[in-house]
């Protein structure tokens, strides 16, 4: 299974660390813009990101080489990935239509009354459904934010038929933890297995060798989370808070349930031990099976198994606000998968995440909702192509 056609910005390789700074720039085509004009506009934008990497900032055309080196350093590691949203295929939004390409079955708008049975929209919702998603990642926050603003400038300066719809930012952590203070991303699969989870089939043909991106901006109710005891938190997550080791059994004493985590693997741990630490085997204990890590990877199987519903996660935290009213934090949940059906199954099937908001038992008496969705959208990420991925989608370009 070849990953050679996947766009840059998906850090699935062995010993590859995702760039720590993230910005998602969402664009729509201008009303009544022609397909050809939109295609040219995207080509200009994608070309500009390439130029920024070389230190060529459009507004500073003609600057000295030493200054250009400084600009190149500023944009170090900038990767731009382009995705195509459900909106692009929405003929009610685009007259004339921008593409005649077949819409992938599961490239859909997120349901307005959900979007998922146990993951509901936040009270204040932003839109992340757009024609185009540009994922910008780089070594610094400045690089991704400057690149996004350079895109805005180019659109304005050259009158490109594109409109900035929204923008979201986030940051990576080097300690491997998330806002819940637990280890995050531990269950991501070994690098040699990731292509099976990532690479899309030729259904429709234009997606062969590409992948699909899900963007979910999840708000975390940190105050509520912190009101839980450490035992409760560990049972919900399914890991020890300090070590990250999986909870492998529960002890029931005096009507209380206590988690018992596996000993963290030492430096000489075997692959089997490490794998079991990451993805503990299924148990018959309903408390453990209701934990987040069990629900999110219910089958514990490798991504070679199509029914395992494995996804490759590449998330970035965010701090929305910190005021006297409290703190608003969350996770830009970014996942790449061979088919968006995989994500839909994961978030709809009971005993996966279809009947629990994050972890814990389903239904009444279960854990209160900790996560809500502030914005979200699904995108097709076609394979690399010349002049840019997905250029063939536009009428007249194919």
């Amino acid at each position: 299974m070849s990953t050679s056609r996947l766009q840059t910005g998906i850090y699935f390789g062995a010993k590859t660390t995702p760039h720590p700074s993230y910005r998602l720039l969402l664009l729509n085509a201008s009303a009544r813009a022609s397909s050809a004009a939109v295609a040219r506009g995207l080509e200009r934008l994608m070309g500009m990101f390439e130029e920024l990497r070389r230190g060529r900032v459009p507004e500073l055309n003609g600057e000295r080489e030493s200054q250009r080196d400084a600009s190149a350093k500023q944009f170090e590691g900038l990767d731009a990935l382009i995705g195509y949203g459900r909106r692009l295929f929405d003929t009610s939004k685009h007259r004339p239509r921008l593409t005649t390409a077949e819409r992938p079955d599961f490239l859909a708008y997120l349901a307005s009354d959900g979007p998922f049975p146990a993951l509901r929209w936040a009270s204040r919702r932003r839109s992340a459904e757009a024609d185009f998603a540009l994922q910008l990642t780089a070594s610094s926050e400045a690089a991704v934010s400057l690149a996004a603003v350079e895109a805005w400038k180019l659109i304005a300066d050259e009158g490109l038929p594109l409109l900035v719809a929204e923008s979201f930012s986030g940051f990576g952590r080097t300690d491997g933890r998330g806002w819940l203070s637990f280890h995050d991303g531990v269950s991501n699969m070994p690098s040699d297995q990731r292509p099976h989870a990532l690479v899309a089939a030729a259904d429709p043909p234009w997606m062969e060798g590409g992948t699909y991106m899900a963007y979910l901006r999840l708000l975390v109710d940190l105050a509520q989370w912190r009101s839980l005891t450490r035992n409760e938190q560990e049972l919900i997550v399914g890991r020890g808070k300090l070590t990250g080791a999986a909870v492998v059994r529960v002890e029931r004493r005096d009507g209380r349930v206590r988690p018992a985590a596996a000993r963290a693997p030492g430096p000489d741990a075997s692959t089997t031990e490490l794998a079991r630490w990451r993805d503990p085997p299924q148990t018959s204990d309903p408390v453990l099976e209701a934990s987040h890590i069990a629900r999110a990877n219910q089958s514990r199987a490798s991504p070679v198994a199509p029914g395992a519903f494995r996804i490759y996660r590449q998330g970035y935290d965010f701090l929305e606000s910190l005021t006297e009213e409290g703190v608003q934090v969350g996770l830009n949940f970014v996942s790449f998968q061979r088919d968006l059906r995989v994500l839909q199954q994961l978030l709809h099937l009971p005993e996966w995440l279809g009947d629990a908001n994050f972890g814990g038992a389903a239904g009444a008496g279960g854990v209160p909702a900790l996560i809500s969705l502030a914005a979200g959208g699904l995108y097709a990420v076609p394979p690399r192509a010349d002049p840019y991925a997905g250029a063939d989608l536009f009428v007249g370009n194919a």
Binding site: P306, G307, H348, E351
Partner: protein
Amino acid sequence: MSASCLDDLDPVGQAAWQALATAYVEDAITEFGSREGNFRVGLREDCARVSVQWTGFPERVASCLGRRKTLALLDARPGLPGGRALQEEYVEWRVIRRGSQIQRIELTTELPEYWAVFAAHSPKRLLALVEAFAGEEEVAVRDVFGTDDALDASMSPEERESAFRAVMLEAGASPYNDGRRAICCMRQQSNSLFSAAALVAAASTPRFVVDQFDGRSRSPRCDEAVSLFWGGLAQLRRASDPLLVERLGQLALEGREVALDAPVGVYIHSVAAGRLRTPTGLRVPDQWFRLSRAAAGPSGGRRHFQRLVFEVPPDQDFCVSDLVDVATERRIEFGGEIADLVSIALFLRVTNEHAVAVPAEPVQPRSGSETEDCSELQEVFAAFRREASR
């Protein structure tokens, strides 16, 4: 091993089913297991209970043909290529349409072997059940047994079973199990107790491999394990087989003994009803999915079902075809779209770890994933297209 399932069978029939199920497991162990294998005919009731679950949409077919073609092919009417022959995830269905509009979808996970015993020992009850499934007051004995005298005392259970198999199972032409008037039990070649037992036997041999990247030992992945099996015993691109292979391989390597949980069967575990909306955008109630043919769970626990009927209640002015799957934004056109929402489960009993020894030497799987030859499925689809348009 307790194989009792429902109250269809009298004590003699129960004993016959028990004996048959036991024999199938023993044969599977002999033929496809190994001396070191961990698969057992039965385990104590206090052993832990685990399950392997998958969804009912045939992944392998879609990986070759794409989803839309697959959905059409899976609903091929009897006599056309495709249809039930490709419903290979231990669940089969029929779609009841009025014109092009879907009125009802019926899914079953009932084992053909059980129905053969049922036919042999309780033919009158079986006939009554077929009548209920078909919604008909009276079903001709010949249509279910291939002969008019199947209910006569002069016919032996063996003769009755044989007659039933010929018309109702595999390629049998009875409209009461080919989907035209009813669906009673599974009939696709690999949707059987023996196929499941053979797979469990093959996968329950303790094995480990040395990882080619870091040189350390681990349980084989499905692509590695399947390369060691008899050809055709498991198919990598299916939803069910790879999950069973990996789970059982892991359990075996942990030194656990494994047995099929009683009552033996393949069960409908849950339904992702939350994906469907009515034409006015309301969530489809769970009650529209009617589960039946239940076996009691252990110690009075959750019941397990083998039949699912999905339809819109008659007091509504729309039908199944008017419902929308929010994950695709498409109206329901095919039975496979409902199968995709259904979780199927095989339940197992397992001992604690280290109950049996694990091998000291690694196995050498054949390298690489199985490359699916799609030409056969493409030919089936071409033939379906050709014949359906006649």
